[in-house]
């Protein structure tokens, strides 16, 4: 008989014994389990937030999502599609072995070999260790935002992987046994992994030899997934956990009014938007007022797009549907993204009369009937948002039939089509730079050229296309700013989509716990303090 709780790696035991007797343990819970501890095997964001405690990325992220030195202390562009990263000295893995430039180069190549996530890292061709402290990364095309992408590139120990027969990523669809790296980890991060049982819990112990700042006082931490919202809240209220990630909105007020607890919020790096068909000659699932299939595409007319933008009251949705836990958005970018322009971020404003006038001018004085495809999960309160939108558009004459779809079905409709002329979706950016928003979600869609692949509603605008082509090859900061502004103005004027709001990341915690929220919804354990 063997108790699960005393199972731990030799490293962890050694580290645990080094910890002081009055150890502060943080027990926290989130929605879904960490799927794997192999940082190169998944892009699931909950899982990434968890293994970020153990593994450091090449380039770090501050609490404001700014790029900061991490494993790389500095970086510069050498020209010829080559970025040079200078590697920090004196960093050791949790097993005590020193980190070398070789490990960094190897990790970049290992991730690249997965072939699953080129969307995250672009087309890196080669990463080589020039000397002990320098790594050169060469991409197939110029890539001005490569350092930002490196904030999601995690460094593993080559020797450790080799010793455990895991040089390659545990493969999907392969037969055979479980990969070693699924449950075991050896990083350089602020916390070391002691136990990872994917279905039940993930436990950490403080890395006493951490190279960076560790302002908090957490010595041990245990993460438990609790899928059911009410149960998660109950676990917090009963003291079984001290912090919960993803507090259901309906419980925010209640928790704030409960002694001994407080709620922390931070805008998520994602904004909700209504996408409208920008290209098709005949809109899908759209009818005239008599219920006859429509013979044109009203969404292609910029006046109709403007009418919808004015008819949808984003403030009201934030107030009522989101209970104030969201921020209204006026451009296709949010604070924290590279290229965000604060002064341009002006919502269109609700104006039903203007909307009616615009519709009449566009030749739809009596409106039309259309279907709004609405993903039922993944984002917060989507069904309520869609219903609110339907009600608001009804007031200006557009009858909206909400078509709720479970996420897998919705995703399939987009990636295998896309076959939707009007839908609600969340828009983020893989690398947290608005450049991605342009090239991936707003550029005229050409799937074969990999342009605008996530432009699901086929929006098309010449200025935006020009910006999307020029940004990825422009290294000059001033010119980049100019391009961002140009593109965002054009997108806003032609209503690339009706931007709604940025939902809040909402955490609940005991009053004794202080935990800053980072925009990527990561709980950085080194910054958590537990008081008396």
């Amino acid at each position: 008989m063997l108790k699960h709780t005393i199972m731990a790696t030799a490293t962890a035991v050694a580290l645990a014994m080094a910890a002081p007797a009055s150890a502060e343990t943080l027990r926290f819970a989130g929605t879904t389990p960490a799927l794997t501890m192999d940082p190169h095997a998944t892009n699931d964001f909950v899982t990434t937030a968890i293994f970020r405690q153990v593994y450091d990325s090449v380039v770090g992220l501050s609490l404001d999502m700014e790029l900061v030195p991490s494993i790389a202390t500095s970086w510069e562009y050498l020209g010829d599609n080559t970025w040079r990263f200078h590697i920090r000295e004196g960093v050791t893995f949790h097993d005590g072995t020193p980190l070398t430039a070789e490990d960094v180069a190897f990790s970049i190549m290992r991730q690249k070999d997965s072939r699953f996530y080129t969307s995250l890292f672009g087309d890196v061709a080669e990463a080589t260790a020039v000397d002990d402290q320098t790594v050169d990364v060469v991409s197939n095309n110029p890539d001005p935002i490569l350092p930002r992408k490196m904030s999601r590139m995690f460094v593993m120990s080559r020797a450790w992987l080799e010793a455990n027969d895991s040089l390659e990523i545990p493969d999907l669809g392969a037969e055979g046994a479980e990969g070693f790296t699924v449950r075991n980890a050896n990083g350089t991060g602020p916390m070391a992994l002691t136990e990872h049982d994917p279905s039940v819990r993930t436990s950490f112990v403080r890395n006493e030899d951490y190279w960076g700042d560790f302002p908090g006082n957490v010595d041990e931490a245990v993460y438990s997934p609790i899928g059911s919202g009410p149960t998660r809240v109950a676990a917090l209220l009963s003291g079984e956990v001290q912090l919960i990630i993803d507090l259901p909105l309906q419980d925010v007020e209640r928790l704030e009014n409960t002694d001994g607890f407080h709620v922390e919020q931070e805008p998520q790096l994602l904004f909700m938007q209504l996408e409208m068909d920008g290209t098709r000659d005949v809109a899908l699932d759209t009818w005239t007022n008599d219920g006859e299939p429509i013979t044109d595409n009203p969404f292609r007319d910029v006046r109709v797009r403007q009418a919808i933008a004015h008819a949808v009251d984003a403030d009201l949705i934030v107030d009522r549907v989101m209970r104030g836990d969201a921020r209204v958005v006026g451009i296709p970018s949010v604070p924290g993204f590279g290229g965000y322009q604060a002064d341009l971020d002006q919502p269109w404003g609700y104006d039903a009369d203007a909307a009616r006038a615009l519709l009449a001018e566009a030749g739809y004085p009596d409106g039309f009937i259309t279907q709004l495809n609405c993903p039922l999960e993944r984002y917060v309160n989507t069904e309520e948002i869609c219903r609110a939108v339907a009600g608001m558009l009804d007031r200006v004459g557009i009858e909206v039939r909400v078509n709720g779809m479970v996420w897998p079905e919705f995703a399939r409709m987009l990636v295998n089509g896309p076959t939707s002329s009007f839908h609600l979706i969340g828009n983020g950016a893989n690398s947290f730079d608005s450049q991605d928003t342009f090239t991936a979600t707003m550029m005229t869609r050409d799937a074969d050229a990999n342009e605008g692949f996530f432009n699901w509603a086929l929006y098309s605008n010449e200025t935006v296309d020009q910006v999307s082509r020029e940004l990825p090859v422009t290294f000059d900061e001033a010119r980049r700013e100019e391009l961002y502004r140009m593109g965002m103005e054009a997108a806003r004027d032609t209503i690339s989509a009706v931007y709604l709001h940025q939902p809040m990341i909402t955490w609940g915690m005991q009053d004794t716990v202080e935990a800053p929220i980072r925009g990527d919804a990561t709980l950085t354990l080194q910054n958590v303090t537990i008081g008396e």
């Binding site: 008989m1 879904t32 669809g173 990636v415 074969d448």
Partner: protein, 327 residues
């Protein structure tokens, strides 16, 4: 006896085969596994490579046959999301669900039978009327509502029981049990209770109805005439004869308990098969979904066979009927 077993087993194999086809077809309708694995923000090349790797480009008949071939050898492939062999995942989750379902079954019998007997014997008392009304409430309360109520009473207000998880477990071979530790037992109480409550009502009503019938029969009247103690009549004469249908119902109930365990597992974050299945549905994790459905079909078939056998043992008339019918 043997012929019944063979016949029933053939039925079971047929059922499992049909379910396997349905499961396989269903999984191709749930969503796009490639989109689920890579997220919708993946490049077309990545998607094509992965689709090929997962052999999604082949016709479903080919994939089905290779799936079936693997399943016969106990190989269900690798979970898309957990990247671990599906067989391991299921095996690791089975003990949690089984302990939960059996605890709930025992609980529902232990509470339901005495209640039913009481209600039958004292059927004119106001207590038994109240019990029967209460049982309607019990049947109609959804498991998740009961679960949340229990959590708020026993975890949040009283602080007696944990609101989630399975507590500490002990491994006996591959079976991990929560029954041998104090925290494991404490964690079991609320999930088992919330699962048992609707079944208690069902059992109680069934026992009551059967008892009332049996109490009218001649041999009970004769036993009364012989002057036997009412307690002895009720418990050893009447109750024993009501137990035969209870056995059947319990078997079917066990199936329901495993199925409804999904709800209780979701509420209490109980790391069993149901929770695994729910997560797999959300991630379009096809190998896990298919394997779970196969396992469920196998489980229901096995229960049916066992129940049939028990029935045959308990009631000789049935044995004759089946034997005649099969020749």
């Amino acid at each position: 006896m043997l012929s019944i077993l063979v016949q029933r087993s053939l039925h079971a194999v047929l059922v499992i085969l049909v379910v396997s086809v349905l499961a396989f077809l269903l999984t191709s309708l749930v969503g796009d596994p490639v989109a689920s694995i890579l997220g919708i923000q993946a490049t077309p090349e990545d998607r094509a490579i992965l689709a090929e790797r997962l052999r999604l480009d082949e016709p479903w008949v080919v994939r089905y046959l290779s799936f079936l071939g693997g399943a016969i050898q106990g190989e269900f492939g690798i979970s898309y999301s957990a990247q671990r062999p599906v067989g391991d995942l299921l095996l690791e989750r089975i003990p949690a669900t089984m302990e939960l379902a059996f605890s709930a079954l025992i609980l529902s019998l232990a509470i339901g039978i005495p209640l039913g007997v009481f209600a039958a014997v004292y059927r004119d008392s106001w207590v038994s009327s109240a019990l029967m009304v209460g049982s309607i409430v019990g049947v109609s309360l959804p498991t998740f509502v009961v679960g949340i109520l229990l959590i708020f009473l026993f975890s949040v207000h009283l602080g007696w029981l944990p609101s989630f998880g399975r507590g500490e477990t002990v491994d006996i071979g591959w079976w991990s049990t929560g029954l041998l530790t104090w925290s494991g037992l404490k964690a079991l109480i609320m999930p088992a209770l919330s699962l048992a409550i609707s079944q208690v009502a069902l059992i109680a009503r069934l026992v009551r109805a059967e008892m009332l019938e049996v109490l009218q029969t001649d041999y009970v009247r004769f036993a009364r005439a012989r002057g036997l103690a009412p307690r002895k009549i009720n418990l050893s004469h009447a109750l024993r004869n009501t137990l035969i249908p209870i056995i059947t119902v319990s078997g079917i109930q066990l199936g329901f308990l495993v199925a409804f365990a999904i709800v209780a597992e979701a509420v209490f974050q109980w790391p069993g098969l149901g929770l695994l299945f729910l997560q797999a549905l959300g991630n379009t994790d096809l190998p896990v979904i298919a394997a779970f459905l196969m396992l469920a079909a196998f489980f229901f078939s096995a229960i049916n066979i066992v129940v049939d056998m028990l029935y045959a043992v308990a009631d000789p008339r049935l044995r004759v009927k089946v034997a005649l019918g099969s020749t």
